[in-house]
Symmetry: C2
Amino acid sequence: MNVVVLRLGHRYARDKRLSTHVALTARAFGASEVVFDAPDTEVRKSIEAVNRAWGGVFTVSWTGNWKKYVKDFPGDVIHLTMYGLHVNLAIDGIRKSSSDKLVVIGSQKVPAEMYQLADFNIAVGSQPHSEVAALAVFLDRLFETRELDMDFNGLKKIVPQARGKKIV
Amino acid sequence: MNVVVLRLGHRYARDKRLSTHVALTARAFGASEVVFDAPDTEVRKSIEAVNRAWGGVFTVSWTGNWKKYVKDFPGDVIHLTMYGLHVNLAIDGIRKSSSDKLVVIGSQKVPAEMYQLADFNIAVGSQPHSEVAALAVFLDRLFETRELDMDFNGLKKIVPQARGKKIV
């Protein structure tokens, strides 16, 4: 199962750091790609540097037509929104299918059409918080926490320590 | 069990949006307070507005001396870092005690002293990602996903929907 993250409402200057957090979170929690709805070569560059050091082949790309991208996606479309169904109740149904997943997250306001285009509108809690948090917890549920054990085969690798840092 | 989040390395202008994400995530995932290591009245104001609309008594404060704050904290200090012990292996030990918890997250580089001050250095994955993601997943593990069912008793409340938005 391949997981792609689509982030809507990308505003280059304002969102640079948050978009980097979105991309790094998608990568660390088992997605294979993040797609923005506007170009961002800076975020791409910083993620490519992370891949070189820490491994994996996670990619950053963008689309000029997010609606078409969503409609054409060959798999299940899951839109994360505080208005959706409780993730704890919906996750088994989503996991049942081995189809690829497109996980859509917004920044501020998401176009109403997205709620119709999604196969699942899912809430990671019905309180306002952060698309980074929602993405992390959703992927953690989807992969049943096993994403944290993935081997990225990187040049650098951390050996977990009770105190201090150890990199091999 | 009371949970407080301490965020180190706060830089006012640069971090405004990320700090808001940290605070909102702490609130939505069951913490009672976020403490920054520098004043930020803007983040406080925006969180107070969220409390008024969506409920709860989550507070935003700051300390001029984070080391003293950590040393004086009457409970377990958990530092989230990619270099720490795997959260899936460590969480049962942390949950065993009903003491209050201080969850410490950094932005970029955290002073080496923090690794010594912590009772637990915990990794939510040993890959670089986001302190917002790490915080969300850690609290989700700590509360065994029940934090998503908390009732904030807010003026506004969402009724989960398969499509669209419903607020009462």
